[in-house]
């Protein structure tokens, strides 16, 4: 009887907590809610030391904290959550600890794929981000299975950075970008593109150069708003969504109406009067190409980065993606992180939101 009363009381208390939390989130939702929050889960080992626990228990407590934080984020309306689970630098730790973490990850992945887990409750799609080739076979297989099984979920996304560092990600993206460029050049050489020429015509100083670019070679690489000036005679979307409609003028039209100064290939040199504009366009093109090859290309950039334990550094995490993102470093160790830390971070985000949006539009 006492057990039943106790169970009822705790259930009632649990329900009251949920109700209270939903009220808080309803108030928060009056303002802008971040679409993507990233966490550096720092402090598990210090937590274990502080509580005289085994180190492994600190990591287990960290996992419980992760589940709670995911619940809070998804209830609030955050769509993407990224967590720094295991860095490439962490392989430098004691082999025993590394093995423990790998086993823990494998065990928890299997737990997450069960019917009653948070994954199914919230319809979460899992992405494991990082150089997964550095992981052992069983762990990698578990991750690949988890990504496959949850691929159909579209409501929310959880990105777990494992065997990840931002520099490794950028190096991988640069490699991918160079491969793309090489393939492009080879395709050009093989003449697979029918109109492989660009003419840059600069008739008079007051008229901006008109670009005619081959659709097939460049449509994936250029962003209209960055490359072309407002005076250029082009139809097409400003944000590059309708890339096929970039190109209005035919070569014939150019030659009959304008004085040609140079004829170039898609990757060649531009006439000097338009060199700076082309350079900016090329810069944007390379930037887009690199971003396309990032592991994190599956999600938008984070709106907030939270690092627990009070340390204020990035530790090689999402360096590219957090370049304009506010950073918060609550003193709580990761297993101690609670609802109020999240509320505080979101309130600060809301306070700076309009200013940051203005800055993003300017860049």
């Amino acid at each position: 009887m006492e057990r039943k009363t106790g169970s009822f009381a705790s259930q009632l208390f649990g329900n009251l907590c949920i109700l209270w939390r939903r009220c808080v989130f309803a108030v928060l939702s009056a303002g802008p809610v971040p679409n993507h929050i990233a966490f550096i889960m720092d402090g598990n080992r210090r937590y274990a030391k502080k509580r005289n626990m085994a180190e492994g228990d600190g990591h287990k407590a960290g996992f419980s904290a992760l589940m709670s934080m995911l619940r809070y984020c998804y209830e609030l309306g955050v769509k993407y959550v990224t967590v720094y689970a295991f860095s490439i630098d962490n392989f430098k730790r004691q082999p025993k600890e590394v093995q423990f973490l790998m086993d823990l990850m494998q065990e928890k992945i299997e737990e997450l794929l069960r019917e009653e887990s948070i994954i199914n409750e919230y319809g979460i799609r899992l992405h494991f981000i990082g150089n997964l080739q550095l992981l052992t076979g069983p762990v990698r297989a578990a991750m690949e299975k988890a990504m496959r099984v949850t691929a159909h979920n579209i409501q929310r996304v959880l990105l777990l950075c494992v065997a990840y560092t931002s520099r490794d990600e950028i190096a991988h993206a640069v490699q991918g970008s160079c491969k793309d460029k090489l393939n492009e050049v080879q395709a050009l050489k093989e003449g697979k593109i029918s109109n492989g020429m660009i003419s840059i015509i600069d008739e008079d100083p007051n008229r901006n150069g008109i670009y005619m670019l081959n659709q097939h070679s460049c449509k994936d690489n250029l962003s209209a708003s960055n490359v072309f000036s407002s005076n250029s005679v082009l139809k097409g979307a400003k944000d590059g969504k309708e890339r096929d409609s970039f190109f209005v003028h035919t070569d014939q039209e150019h030659r009959s109406n304008c004085q040609e100064t140079e004829i170039i290939s898609c990757n060649g040199v531009i006439a000097s009067s338009e060199e700076k504009r082309y350079k900016q366009g090329e810069l944007s093109s390379n930037l887009i190409n690199i971003e396309k090859n990032m592991y994190m290309a599956v999600a938008p950039d984070p709106d907030i980065l939270i690092r627990t334990s009070g340390e204020m550094r990035l530790s090689n995490f999402l360096l590219w993606q957090t370049s304009t993102c506010p950073l918060y470093a609550p003193a709580a160790l990761w297993p101690e992180i609670g609802l109020w830390n999240l509320v505080w971070a979101v309130l600060s985000f809301q306070r700076h939101h309009s200013y940051l949006e203005k800055k993003k539009k300017q860049s």
Binding site: S166, A171, V174, K181, N286, I290, G310, R313, P330, W340
Partner: protein, 310 residues
């Protein structure tokens, strides 16, 4: 050091700033502000209209003397490379009802003070974010002033830098700068390239993403020339091609951003991977010796693990 370069000292008619604002989010766990885990600690924009005493132009003779090393710091724990985002000039000027260029002028004075401190305290590299690639979108009047200010500052300070052993390096897309400024930068770099007391890296028209992109282009060029294979692309190769390859210590140990903004804003993106970040609520023209000392003390207290064990 800068005796003959300083303007005539102006009497500071405004009372000194008596509020000592704490560093935001940058303290260790021991700071009482961060023990309160459940109460938000907001920092708003500073509404104090009073400048700190540091804003007053110091007397010429004190610049010649190196600053004594502070007893509260440990020489063996000093950062080799400090990076600074000099934020807040515009707001500083606005709070005084002045146009932005007054803030930028005051910012230059603040920078000179910091350079002097770095030279005195054995810091080898100081990188400052003078002008972002994104700043080209600012009003033309302000841009013209800033570019003229750069020219004037280099012109007036180059002799002092050369004699004090300061090496000037400039990183960023300088092709967008006026030819006269480009030439001046080139001359300054050439003139001071043998100096070794302090390397002052000025980031002008710079963005961290731009730096990585230009490194990628350079690597693509090497692949095209057959110098490098695609499979050889790794972190080390990229680091060699970044613009910070002009220094022996390309990665900052400590990054300071003033004005309380808690973000990196596309500055030294790659290089800041393991840097300790300090966000000071002071606006840049008010950032002086005390604030720098506090940032260095905070840096020295931190445990840097680089992903490994304690």
């Amino acid at each position: 050091m800068f005796l003959h370069r300083l303007p005539t000292p102006v009497e500071n008619t405004l009372p000194p700033n008596i509020s000592k604002a704490p560093l935001t989010y940058a303290r260790s766990q021991k700071h009482p502000l961060f023990r309160r885990q459940f109460l938000p600690s907001f920092h708003g924009p500073r509404t104090v209209l009073l400048p700190s005493p540091n804003v007053a132009v110091v007397s010429g003779s004190s610049w010649r003397q190196p600053e004594p090393f502070p007893p509260e710091l440990r020489p063996d724990l000093m950062p080799k490379h400090v990076a600074v985002i000099m934020d807040g000039n515009g707001r500083w000027a606005k709070m005084r009802g002045s146009p932005p260029w007054v803030g930028h002028e005051a910012g230059v004075e603040s920078l000179k003070r910091l350079i002097h401190l770095c030279c005195s305290w054995g810091i080898k590299v100081l990188t400052v974010f003078a002008f972002s690639y994104d700043n080209w979108k600012r009003p033309k009047v302000e841009l013209d002033f800033l570019l003229r200010l750069f020219e004037r500052t280099i012109d007036t300070e180059i002799e002092a830098f050369a004699s004090e052993g300061i090496r000037i390096s400039v990183i960023g897309d300088t092709s967008k700068l006026p030819n006269s400024l480009q030439k001046m930068i080139h001359n300054a770099e050439e003139r001071t390239k043998q100096n070794s007391t302090l390397q002052l890296i000025i980031a002008i028209s710079y963005s961290g993403k731009y730096d990585v992109v230009q490194a990628c282009k350079a690597i693509a060029g090497k692949i095209k020339d057959g110098v490098v294979e695609i499979e050889d692309i790794n972190e080390r190769l990229i680091e060699q091609e970044l613009e910070t390859n002009c220094t022996k210590f390309p990665n900052p140990d400590l990054m300071i951003r003033t004005s309380g903004e808690l973000r990196v804003s596309n500055f030294l993106l790659w290089q800041l991977a393991y840097a300790e970040l300090v966000f000071d609520p002071k606006l840049w023209p008010d950032f002086g010796k005390d604030q720098f000392l506090e940032a260095l003390a905070s840096f020295q207290q931190r445990q840097r693990r680089f992903g490994a064990r304690h």
